[in-house]
């Protein structure tokens, strides 16, 4: 089971065209711009980055909740991006999404029974009686009960609603769940309950998660590997532990420096980035991080950095390392 690729995302792009009226040129927002990563079966892969860097769009484009502009999404050997509508629709039972806002993601006009029955009905998995059994058992699994069946979403608390959202995603017994900031809308006290529920479910059903978040402490706590996103691109991928112990990309270093220190002896200087995140409609040339990067060099302004690879699948897109690599290569080839 280990080391088997479940999902592989290649050169994924999602551009939004925004028209500004009839005679003006359209603005192109590069929400996701050439994203590559793979997710292994059974792991929890995190996507982290500041607001607006394209995390949600990446998640949605993978599931084709929004049509990708370009790229491949290979899930269990099938390229989802090329799949005809009907095929995609029936494949959806294998991959589900838990959304950020448990208030908005449940249809307010439907009772919990209807909400949970719907996926079963759509994929006609079971007959009516079996479906109800299934619904009741999933409710119990997420910590609710049969007694809640005929309530409406607004009668529940945020945490309970997110449990319902998770139940809904789980009911088709998917292999893969994209959780888009599943706890960020919840009270801190409720967050850990929901996270623990997700971890238990993963253990029990062998789920694979793509976990989207901007909360580094949650990521440190529950994920196996992390990809750091900045302005629609992935700048660093590493095992969670490696990333937290040894962040290589200047942006990752800055992000991590903002996390509160857990060991009082540890000394950390907070790196304050200059300026704001630029707009994805008008990204800087070269390395898009260069206007804010404390280590920016001349080459960073004009050339997009290649991926530099380190041990254990740690990859970084930054000229600091690609230059080193060249030097190393040079040294090797001349020795």
């Amino acid at each position: 089971m280990e080391n088997q690729v479940l999902l592989s995302v290649k050169n994924l792009k999602k551009y939004y065209e925004i028209s500004q009226g009839m005679f003006k040129e359209k603005i192109v927002v590069r929400a996701v711009d050439d994203v590559n990563f793979t997710v292994m079966k059974g792991e929890t892969f995190a996507l982290v980055g500041e607001s607006g860097c394209g995390k949600s769009t990446t998640g949605r484009a993978i599931l084709r909740l929004t049509e990708p502009t370009d790229g491949e999404v290979i899930f269990n050997g099938t390229n989802l991006a090329l799949l005809p509508y009907e095929k995609m629709r029936s494949l959806r039972k294998h991959m589900q999404m838990v959304f950020q806002d448990p208030y908005a993601s449940l249809n307010p006009k439907k009772s919990i029974r209807q909400i949970l029955m719907e996926p079963l009905k759509v994929h006609s998995k079971f007959d009516k009686k079996e479906s109800l059994q299934k619904v009741i058992s999933i409710l119990q699994i997420v910590g609710l009960s049969e007694y809640h069946l005929d309530r409406y979403p607004h009668e529940f608390s945020g945490g309970q609603r997110q449990r319902i959202g998770i139940a809904r995603a789980m009911i088709l017994q998917p292999d893969f769940i994209i959780a888009d900031e599943p706890v960020s809308a919840l009270d801190v006290s409720v967050q850990s309950q929901v996270i623990n529920l997700m971890l238990e479910l993963q253990k029990e059903f062998g789920l694979t998660y793509l976990f989207i978040s901007h909360d580094l402490s949650v990521i440190q706590h529950m994920t196996d590997r992390v990809a750091v996103m900045y302005l629609g691109k992935i700048v660093e991928i590493a095992k969670t532990e490696d990333l937290f112990n040894n962040p290589k990309h200047p942006y990752t270093q800055a992000l991590l420096s903002a996390v509160p220190i857990t060991h009082p002896k540890e000394k950390k200087e907070r790196i304050i980035l200059k300026g704001d995140v630029p707009s994805p409609a008008n990204p800087p040339s070269g390395c898009t991080f260069h206007p804010r990067c404390p280590f920016a060099m001349e080459i960073c302004k004009s050339e997009l950095p290649d991926q530099a690879r380190f041990e254990e699948g740690h990859t970084v897109n930054c000229h600091l390392y690609s230059q080193n690599k060249e030097e190393i290569n040079y040294a090797i080839s001349h020795s």
Partner: protein, 305 residues
């Protein structure tokens, strides 16, 4: 729910009584009508006698009290001109107004909802742009002008439709279109924007994520959730539609309450004006009342409260 209904019913009564009160005083402030009904050479005594006969000589608050007491019993007096009973006269014109307003409403819903849904679904397409442009136009054009233009083309030039009057379906066509134009535009825009809102909602995404087919997503899920705001708007607009009917009725000589009200106002035939206002206000308040109940019915969030 019963509490809610009773509360809203009381509001209906208050609204109607208030409307009557305001109109009663406004109309009295504009002077008394006796001069209009008597020959120009009538003597002072004759005028005084006439005023006395109609009760206009007494203090206004007494007149008001008497009017209200009679009004709540359904007695609005008689036309100053024809001596017909005011309320039955107004009521006899009601079916014509309803016919016009309801056919215009049905026409606009039949056009606007599919148009709005398609526009939203195909957002930014050529179809959407044309429909948006048309709705802007539809809302901007004043109905009396549209009415006259339609009369010019279809009645005067092409001579295929009557320019006014009533009696058959053919007579209904032009006034119905005139009255519907504004609502079509308004409902289309509103349906489009509500649908766009709903289609952007996470729960539509949730449904899509679990594999609900697009047609059902748009036609059932999104439309169903858009229906509440649409119903509310339609209900609120029914009042406007009835108001618009007044002008349309005048342009097309449609024999409804609107035309009667207008004529009576010109003639200062107060009892009919007040009976007309009573009926229009009552209908308006009752429509909103029904809209509220319906709204509560389709929206479980309100029902629980």
């Amino acid at each position: 729910m019963l509490d809610f209904i009773i509360k809203r019913l009381i509001q209906v009564v208050v609204v109607v009584l208030l409307a009557l009160t305001v109109v009663f005083f406004l109309i009295r402030l504009s002077g008394d009508p006796t001069a209009l009904f008597l020959p120009p050479d009538a003597s002072r005594e004759q005028i005084e006698e006439y005023r006395e006969m109609l009760g206009f000589d007494r203090p206004i608050y007494i007149q008001y009290g008497e009017f209200m007491v009679n009004a709540v019993q359904g007695d609005f007096g008689q036309s100053l001109r024809s001596k017909e009973d005011a309320l039955p006269l107004v009521l006899s014109r009601l079916p014509a107004t309803f016919q016009l307003a309801i056919s215009a409403l049905i026409l606009s819903l039949l056009i606007a909802i599919p148009l709005g849904v398609l526009s939203a679904y195909k957002r930014n397409s050529v179809f959407d742009r044309i429909s948006v442009a048309l709705t802007v136009l539809g809302q901007a054009v004043p109905s009396f002008w549209l009415g006259l233009i339609l009369i010019y083309f279809f009645a005067a030039q092409l001579n295929i439709l009557p320019s006014g009057g009533a009696g058959s379906i053919v007579h209904l066509i032009l006034p119905m279109i005139t009255l519907a134009a504004y609502s079509v535009a308004r409902f289309t825009r509103f349906t489009r924007s509500t649908m766009l809102d709903v289609l952007r909602k996470d729960y539509i995404r949730t449904a899509k994520a679990s594999g609900v087919p697009t047609i059902r997503l748009v036609g059932r899920y999104a439309l169903k959730n858009s229906l509440i705001p649409i119903i509310t708007l339609v209900a609120l607009d029914l009042g406007t539609l009835l108001g618009g009917a007044v002008i349309t009725e005048v342009v097309f000589a449609w024999p409804g309450v609107g035309r009667l009200l207008m004529q009576s106002l010109m003639n200062r035939d107060f009892p009919i004006v007040l009976a007309g206002v009573f009926i229009v206000a009552l209908i308006y308040a009752v429509i909103n009342f029904i809209a509220d109940i319906l709204y509560a019915y389709v929206n479980p969030q309100i029902r629980v409260k």
